[in-house]
């Protein structure tokens, strides 16, 4: 059987029809005055899942998180956690904890007391609090900073205190609002893996809000792509990248080339697409489409081969001129202007130090791809 990308681990309750949903957004709508932040949205998240809400700022992803935490009530619809309707339950009685984008560390308390705050609210006995705090400090490697105040810590350390504080109560669900947004690139990459380890070790359900697609792809089991308060697609990172279901998702995650045209001919297995300028491509079927219907073939730059001569065996080969070359070290990105005027982006891994078939600016070049290298989109 063909498989899309690599599978992180043997964990896929979303494919199991008998799996019990853990968090359920049920036709949830949230309005702020006339503005609809979340529009009739339904979403299911499973226990122990690392779930990412990905979208541009203002798409409603943070509102979803805040409704789960209890800071906002849905205008319509309901939210269920482990079968329980959360409506009317104030934030301080919900078994979820949140890590805030600004970290929201209490400035007048030491690191220790920040972490202990939630445990004290539960009336946990003092010795237990002390041992739990010590455990949390060890978890985030901040043992020697216990007595410091938040302003005496660096950005990365503050982030780890915020994390320790939010997992100290062992919540059923941990909500993370742009958890790595304030860190620099290098630290962010390290922390992504720390968060994944933490989630595995504690066995918690994580719901993370982010606008950074790379972050979502790295960490999450599944990603929900949100636009204008609606879910565009919910899928694993590999599916989102390799099999986007709409132009929006294809554009939003990674780079993509779009070949627009009309259905010219459809056989049992393939569809021939006629571009507006006459160039034709043959692609694997997605769904039965009427001849003459508008259709888009979306293909990622690394799935396109570029060469100076026409490849002999290629099903799809289009000719053009090299317009721009970006050398990125590990790979090179070519921008080719096809003879019908369309720009195509093709990237090549620089697996060898010396290229046998060097292409330069304004060279004639051929781009070719397999019929199954991309997806057919109708919306």
């Amino acid at each position: 059987m063909k498989s899309l990308g690599s599978i992180r681990r043997d964990f896929a309750p979303w494919n199991d029809p008998n799996a019990k949903p853990y968090i359920q957004f049920d036709n949830v709508t949230k309005k702020f005055g006339d503005f609809t932040a979340v529009n009739n949205l339904s979403l299911t998240i499973f226990e122990r899942e690392f779930f990412a809400l990905l979208g541009a700022s203002g798409c409603g992803k943070s509102t979803l998180l805040r409704m789960l935490a209890g800071f906002e009530e849905p205008t319509a619809g309901r939210i269920l956690l482990d079968g329980q309707d959360l409506r009317g339950i104030p934030p301080y009685r919900r078994p979820v904890n949140m890590m805030f984008q600004s970290y929201a560390l209490f400035p007048h308390m030491t690191v220790e007391n920040n972490i202990a705050f939630g445990l004290k609210q539960d009336g946990m006995p003092k010795p237990e609090i002390a041992s739990r705090v010590a455990e949390m400090l060890k978890l985030v490697k901040l043992e020697q900073f216990a007595k410091r105040k938040p302003h005496q810590l660096s950005g990365g350390q503050r982030q780890r205190v915020a994390l320790a504080r939010s997992v100290a109560k062992r919540p059923k669900v941990l909500l993370l609002d742009e958890p790595l947004g304030a860190l620099d690139k290098k630290l962010r990459e390290e922390t992504q893996f720390e968060l994944m380890d933490l989630q595995q070790n504690l066995g918690l359900t994580f719901v993370v809000v982010t606008h950074d697609q790379e972050e979502a792809m790295t960490m999450a089991d599944r990603i929900a792509i949100i636009d204008k308060g609606e879910v565009m697609q919910v899928a694993t990172p590999a599916e989102v990248y390799e099999a986007p279901t709409s132009r929006f998702v294809a554009h939003f995650v990674g780079n993509v080339n779009m070949f627009e045209g009309k259905v010219a001919e459809q056989t049992a297995n393939t569809t021939r697409i006629a571009g507006s300028s006459g160039a034709q491509i043959v692609v694997d079927n997605a769904a039965k489409t009427a001849a003459g219907a508008d259709i888009v073939f979306a293909i990622r730059p690394e799935k396109i081969k570029i060469s100076s001569k026409k490849p002999a065996d290629a099903v799809n080969a289009l000719e053009g001129e090299v317009y721009d070359i970006a050398y990125l070290g590990d790979m090179t990105v070519f921008h080719v202007r096809l003879d019908d005027g369309q720009m195509v982006r093709a990237s090549t891994m620089n697996a060898a130090r010396i290229t046998e078939d060097p292409l330069s600016w304004n060279d004639r070049a051929w781009v070719s791809f397999r019929p199954d290298a991309g997806v057919v989109l109708t919306r």
Binding site: A104, F106, H108, H151
Partner: protein, 272 residues
């Protein structure tokens, strides 16, 4: 910064400071005058300070002023903080504009009018003028100043701190006392000190609303001056100035130290 000590700069600084502080310096100098005549220097002496402490009238007035100041500043701080919270947190309620206008009106109201209208009110409700009425009047006067100071702090308050506390299981009441109040405490303390200082040096409203047995220090000084300035009054004023100056200096030094320490800490934290 480019500082040049030109003749013009030096002259303007000297004149400026002289304009501001020469009267006070004169007052302090003459409080150590041996002579009974206020304007004639008769040698150094501290005898007026000794006699000041034997002047029962002045000592009583000081005690009244201190009690009025502490009580009115404390009540005004509680009320002013509540008003500031209402104005920043509940941005939409019926009559909000009217409420905020009424809270801040005493800021610009001439003291004579505040004093007179309070006097009319106390007479109308049959409240005998005395300690209680002065205290009430000072609460009215100073509450708006506290509200202004606290409100300016609350505007920049990060609400996610409160959300985080509630998220961790603290009820709204606990959140207020464990998070909000400690964080805005410096503003509340400055508000209290401002209220206390305003009450301490108020003469106009106190003379309208005070009665027998509740003469405040400014009233006492003013009435004695009308009978002629004595070196004793100079001594009393010098002590007052010293108390205020020491308070201000301690507060600003502590503030400065905290600020410097904070910057050092932050720099150290960034280095890792």
């Amino acid at each position: 910064m480019n500082t040049t000590w030109s003749r013009f700069n030096v002259t303007s600084i000297v004149l400026g400071f002289a304009f501001l502080y020469l009267p006070i310096v004169l007052l302090i100098v003459f409080s150590f005058n041996e002579s009974k005549l206020v304007t004639v220097w008769g040698g150094f002496s501290t005898k007026w300070y000794v006699s000041l402490f034997h002047n029962q009238g002045l000592m009583d007035a000081t005690w009244v002023t201190a009690r009025v100041g502490v009580i009115s500043a404390t009540v005004a701080t509680v009320l002013g903080t509540l008003a500031a919270l209402t104005l920043t947190r509940y941005t939409r309620f019926r009559g909000r504009l009217l409420f905020s206008g009424m809270v801040f009106a005493p800021l610009v109201m001439p003291e004579v009018i505040t004093g007179l209208s309070l006097l009319l009110l106390f007479v109308a409700v049959g409240l005998d003028r005395g300690f209680l009425t002065v205290t009430l009047a000072h609460i009215t006067l100073t509450m708006c100043f506290v509200a202004v100071v606290v409100q300016s702090r609350l505007v920049s308050f990060d609400r996610s701190l409160e959300e985080a506390a509630m998220d961790l299981g603290a009820t709204p009441v606990k959140t207020f006392f464990q998070i909000t109040l400690p964080v805005i405490m410096p503003a509340i303390v400055s508000g209290w000190m401002l209220a206390f200082t305003l009450s301490l040096d108020d003469l106009v409203i106190a003379s309208f609303t005070s009665g027998p047995g509740a003469t405040t220090l400014p009233m006492k000084i003013y009435s004695q001056v009308r009978l002629g300035v004595t070196p004793e009054i100079n001594a009393a004023c010098t002590i007052l100035i010293a108390v205020v100056a020491v308070g201000v200096i301690i507060a600003s030094v502590a503030n400065k130290r905290r600020e410097v320490q904070r910057q050092l800490d932050e720099r150290a934290a960034q280095r890792g």
